[in-house]
């Protein structure tokens, strides 16, 4: 139905359709290849455009010349009816071996041309790049800015994961910041060192939370927390001796997860705890791996965390011992006390969890 550029009628002459992309290039394409695209097909049938260079069909904005080339390659292969499913599959697999940028552009271009099979194919390839990867890896692949605060990262997950785990995190954050503030008041140490102490405390706080909870999860977690525990104990001993015994209790309290010997607080709530803490185990999976937290803190996150630490410390008003009592006495209803983890069989049984 569309005439070729030549006036001479040849029996095997192919019809061509003229296409124009937004970056100005105009090209002619074999009719059956071009008509494989629903948008082009529609344009040809409804408006009759595309029959000559001056009447080239303007393609949607998201299709540039390079993408058009790729799309036409796809169409050219698939519009041939005789191909077997295996051939098509092999072609598809090779076809999506593109760099990420091209893959995203191609998805966008195919979508604007309503070429559904190609959209599905490229989307699947992009999904494979996301599935099972850590957030850093995904951000790296797609050049995503890491512009969420720690709180924001937790927020949707706070609701979707079990409450006690997140509340625990917040309380421990709060407690640690309170401690840091007190330490700052007690000593006059150089800013750097303090920062160093701060960073490590938060660092090991988070790794403890994740590592401690995931006690049985794997060597990596336990290695981290062991490492951090050593670091933690040193500054602690010097600065915290003058706190009352409750503070020591808090040390046990916090490392109750890690130490297998201290398991003496709030034992009646043990059985109910194991259930909750087990649910706590699975929650990190939803948001982030222990590795993420550790990695993130070391490089450029320091400043942000320091800001947050100070915020927390400022907001915190209650005296530590009172807080401690409060937490201890809440036992069952709050379902929060994290002490019971070590011995309960459920964690031992939870080894070998997949970290996906």
């Amino acid at each position: 139905m569309s005439e070729g550029p030549m006036a001479v009628v040849k029996p095997q002459m192919k019809s061509f359709i003229w296409l124009q992309t937004t970056d100005g290039s105009i090209q002619q394409v074999e009719e059956d290849v071009a008509m494989f695209c629903p948008v082009i097909c529609q344009e040809v049938l409804q408006t009759g455009m595309g029959s000559a260079k001056n009447f080239a069909i303007s393609l949607p904005q998201r299709v540039n010349a390079a993408m058009l080339g790729l799309i036409l390659d796809y169409c050219r292969f698939h519009q041939v009816p005789g191909r077997s499913n295996k051939e098509r599959k092999t072609f598809d697999e090779k076809f999506v071996r593109l760099d990420t940028k091209k893959l995203c552009e191609l998805t966008s271009a195919a979508d604007s041309l309503q070429l559904r099979p190609l959209v599905d194919l490229t989307s699947r390839a992009l999904a494979r790049m996301i599935e099972g990867k850590t957030p850093e890896e995904i951000r790296e692949t797609f050049h995503l800015p890491d512009d969420l605060t720690e709180e924001e990262k937790l927020e949707p997950l706070r609701n979707i994961t079990d409450d006690p785990r997140i509340r625990l995190l917040n309380r421990l954050y709060a407690r640690k910041r309170k401690e840091l503030k007190e330490r700052q008041n007690l000593k006059n140490i150089e800013v750097e060192e303090e920062q160093h102490v701060d960073e490590r405390s938060v660092d090991d706080l988070l790794s403890f939370i994740n590592g401690g909870i995931g006690d049985s999860k794997g060597a990596r977690a336990s290695k981290n927390k062991r490492k951090n525990r050593r670091r933690k104990e040193q500054p602690r001993n010097s600065s915290l001796n003058n706190e009352n015994g409750d503070h020591k209790g808090s040390n046990n309290f916090s490392s109750g997860c890690i130490n297998s010997d201290s398991n003496n607080v709030a034992s009646p709530s043990k059985t109910s705890m194991s259930k909750d803490m087990a649910s706590v185990i699975f929650s990190p999976k939803l948001g982030f791996n222990e590795g993420d937290i550790d990695d993130e803190l070391d490089p450029a996150m320091k400043e942000q965390l320091d800001r947050e630490v100070e915020d927390f410390a400022r907001r915190l008003n209650s005296v530590w011992p009172e807080r401690m009592q409060e937490l201890l006495s809440f036992g069952q209803e709050r379902r929060l006390v994290p002490v019971t983890i070590n011995g309960s069989g459920s964690f031992k049984r939870c080894t070998g969890l997949d970290r996906g």
Partner: protein, 422 residues
Amino acid sequence: MDFEQDLISDLPQSIIETILTKLPIKDAVRTSILSSKWRYKWATLTQLAFDDKCVTLCNDRAIVENNLANFITRFLFLHDGPIHKFSLSTSYLQSSYDIVQWLLFLSRKDIKELVLELGEGEWFRAPSCLFSCKKLTRLELVRCELDPPPCFKGFFCLKYLNLQQVLIPPDDIECLIASCPLLESLTLSYFDSLELTVSAPNLKHLILEGEFKDICLVNTPLLVFISVAMYMTDDIAEHFEQSSSYNFNKFLGGVPQLERLVGHIYFTKYLSIGNHEGCIPITYYQLKFVELYQVSFDDMKEVLVVLQLIVNSPNLQELQISGFSNASAAIQEAPDLDFWEKRCFIDCTLSRLKTIKMTDVSGVQHEMKLIKFLLEHSPSLETMSITPSLYLTEGRLNMLIDLVSFRRASTQASIIFIHEQV
């Protein structure tokens, strides 16, 4: 400062949704911490698929169950927008109030496709809110109890219904089918002692598996694909003997558009019951593929059913028959061999039949007669493959001798005898 441009976050939401839908739902939720733009991209997904992989598994069943229920509840609570597809496939979660609440939530979200595959144990009793999902186009239930309320008028948009191990009062199942005018595909598996009359004017695919006492296709003119597996118990067999009308007609009498027929155990036996007149009134012009399993060639009536089916399918392309006979009967003279000489059989030509596969061949006389018949009446035949029954040890040579002597109407036909060293 140079920064590389975000490649993906600004793609249209429809593409993001396509990508997120191709991820396990856990990974989709995890994208919320990627960046500020990604925080809630997952929350508008319209196709949700939950399974046991959403939570970490451990040996304590109660914990996993609890975790899974919490995950789904919290997810739904954070979700924003319509939900078109909801699928839950779990062996841990059983009947629970949580599922009832989710169904209530979904019924308010214009749910279109619902799949519930629950664990062994106490079967989930579907609440009445399930029947108020007016926009349902697809419903799949495994291990549930259905009790449609009296005011239930039907799922007017339902196209695909799959019930497996579902407890439903027998009258209600017929009503349910009849009240879904757009129903195109029906699958019923593992039903007990069901007498079923199917009336579905738009039905194209029918798959039945279970102990059916009786199946009657009353109003199914558009049926294209039928697959039936009938498990027989003794009382069902007795019930069969008492039936008066010809089952073949009752079942296959009203399906002129049939393209593909698969009959598993006892299907041909079922069809053969009843008083049969001479020939079948209907011709299956579209029937291209026929697969019949466990055909007992000892029973002349079953052979007749097979023959009548073949003869009434002039455009048959592929035929597969698996036998189920007593090999020792091959030695004796089979009764009623003369119906092979009937007019309507002799004149038959299967001009499109290209492939025939006979498996579990015992070599009984009717079976060999059928093979002979097929060879003589298929001018386009390309391959006939014959696999002898494992129980046939001594008669293979005789079978081969007979085979070699049969005349072939097709010059391209090759007979492949699949012989494993016994």
